[in-house]
Amino acid sequence: MINGNVKPAEKFVVPIGPQHPALKEPGHFELTIDGETVTAASARLGYAHRGIEKGAESRSYVQTLYMMERVCGICSHIHGTAFSLVVEKLAGVEAPPRAQAIRVLVAELERIHSHLLWVGVGAHEAGFDALFMYSWRDREVVMDILEALTGNRVNYSANVLGGVKCDVTPEAAETILKGVDFLEERARQYLEVVQSDAMFLRRTRGVGTMTREEALTLGVVGPTARASGVTQDLRKDAPYAAYPDFPINVITETAGDLEARFIVRVKETIESCRIIREVLANLPEGELTTRMPRRVKEGEAIVRLEAPRGEVFYYVQSDGTDTAKRVKVRTPTIANMASVLHLSVGHQLADVPMILAGIDPCFSCNDRSVRLTSAHGNDVWTWEKLRQHGIEAYR
């Protein structure tokens, strides 16, 4: 049994659960420590690795679009839009303006649904089940809107190569506006709860803090970066689809802790409501799709979109046939996790639970044990013991 003090040059394995709703790639983390400071950190993923990129090389573009929407169930529209845009770029085709605007509309609705989901799961992880139940009850409103618009609550496949397949009728626009007003009012209430509830603040304020400097050097993306003051949002920096005509203002906070991330996400929900109203107000006329060649001429293209969790990167290489030669997808959670893991390097062992819990408050791991591999055999520390070790170290 390792008594209190930790021997030098020990490898310290922190497994974090095989499954967890918000983190697409469940897996476990490994930290190497030297005395009290962490010298290296890495992770082992793969529980949800289905071999999508190889699958895409044996499927036609239309089939691959259908598969790409199932990379992640929570932001499936973004992956569908990204793949449609990249194939349209390859084929040198431009979707009509009405289709682009509807893509933005569904993307913002999905951002509201994803942020409300994350606020709920985050609260559930902190044991605040009332907020979980209330935010998921209100989320049903946006699910109904999405269902009315696209026919499905999750994985709505609104995209088709060359446009969209669902239209916004005036009545649909009416229900969307009514729903969005309700959501905005609820989001303002959650903003107030997240900033003032004393018990909740005990679990979020000052937890897993990341400075703007660290965020920039580590290449963190999405709301996690914006919560540390990095004004980086692809909808503004590299506008795609119809975002050039509907400019957004980037929401940032400066504190960079868990509370700031909650605030950024709820404020972004309010911002999305504003964009939806603007898109519905001046929805361009015109058809919904253009003709799309079955075979895409040879070439390569890159598209970067702003998913609810951060930047999604798509790279596709085509070779003139109707199947892609190479499809590369980089999801935002991988980037956030890879970069923030390095945040823990150089920190004290005692800070590790806070940093790892900080990057994504819904780290609900039911396999949270800590294996301390040292020179003479290894010993299993529970996560709690690691936390206790941290507390004693600071007492």
Partner: protein, 311 residues
């Protein structure tokens, strides 16, 4: 010796009326009320009235798996001992508006420690089933137990000091209808919060934080053992609430008022449960030692000083 009074009556009291079956049934009803209130406050419909009964019966008929590296005798015995402890505690607490079947000097202390016997059994059970999560659950259960035990006893001490006795019935007689709740406000509040800690209700449910350590000490339990622990938990809820109402709300004579009082107490417990996020274990310990104990001692000092001035 009068056979009936000395043998039959105590057994009846222990097994049927104010003791065993009655407390278990009431425990299940109170568990249901608690779950229903929490669900309604979370805008949900919540379980049907017979849900806890169905849960417990189903657990009884389920296969019980005993992990090999756990000591089987201990694994099976602990739930029984825990439940037995709680049931004997029910003999000293005035339930259902009637005087407690047994009462002797010092039964207040015995009741409190019989109640914490169940928590100890849960702790031992978790340690015995050596899964990773049960070990974490055990450390949290026991650390939490040591943190709320002192303030809970201190809070119950203040009425005892005024009545200068450890006997519950004498304390009630001393109070004779006066609601000590108003004269001892601080210890009443601490008693309720400590009761929530004892029953591991949120915000003190770190020992079985479903998202962090699966089910804490109970992770390895299934079938009969789990059912007995659930029954024990229900009984503990009834006796805890009865104890606090008896001491602070003037031991009442008729059952209706008693049921009303306990219902109000359950509503308060559920409200606090819904409004609070779960506290990390080091925060709960900090909360208890920094605020809980100090406030309880302050209350007692005020009482003693007030006693000196008045007497």
């Amino acid at each position: 010796m009068n056979f009936f009074a000395d043998v039959i009556q105590p057994i009846l009291a222990l097994l049927v009326f104010p003791g065993g079956l009655f407390v278990l049934a009431l425990g299940l009803v109170y568990l249901w009320v608690n779950r229903k209130l929490v669900a309604r406050l979370q805008n949900r419909i919540g379980p049907r009235w017979f849900q806890p009964v169905a849960d417990v019966v189903r657990l009884f008929v389920k296969e019980e798996i005993i992990p090999e590296d756990a000591n089987p005798a201990l694994f099976v015995a602990l739930p029984i001992v825990g439940l037995a402890g709680v049931l004997t505690a029910s003999l000293y607490v005035p339930l259902f508006g009637m005087a407690a079947p047994f009462s002797y000097p010092g039964d207040l202390i015995v009741t409190v420690y019989l109640l914490s016997l169940l928590t100890l059994c849960i702790g031992l059970a978790g340690a015995n089933s050596t899964g990773r999560f049960s070990l974490v659950g055990v450390t949290r259960t026991l650390t939490q137990m040591f943190s709320y035990e002192a303030p809970f006893l201190l809070a119950l001490l203040s009425p005892a000091i005024i009545a200068q006795t450890w006997q519950i019935s004498e304390i009630i007689a001393y109070a004779d209808g006066r609601w000590l709740m108003f004269t001892h406000p601080i210890s009443f509040v601490i008693a309720i919060i400590a009761l929530m800690g004892k029953l591991e209700m949120p915000p003190f449910d770190a020992p079985e934080a479903e998202t962090e350590i699966v089910a804490g000490a109970m992770t390895e339990y299934s079938g009969r053992g789990l059912a007995l622990f659930k029954l024990g938990h229900g009984a503990e809820l009834v006796i805890g609430v009865a104890l606090v109402t008896a001491l602070f709300m003037g031991g009442t004579a008729n059952p209706l008022i008693w049921l009303a009082q306990t219902a109000v107490m359950l509503l308060v417990l559920s409200l606090v449960q819904v409004l609070m996020a779960r506290l990390r274990i080091d925060q709960t310990v900090g909360l208890w030692w920094r605020y809980g104990s100090v406030l309880a001692i302050v209350q007692i000092v005020i009482l003693i000083v007030w006693e000196r001035i008045v007497a």
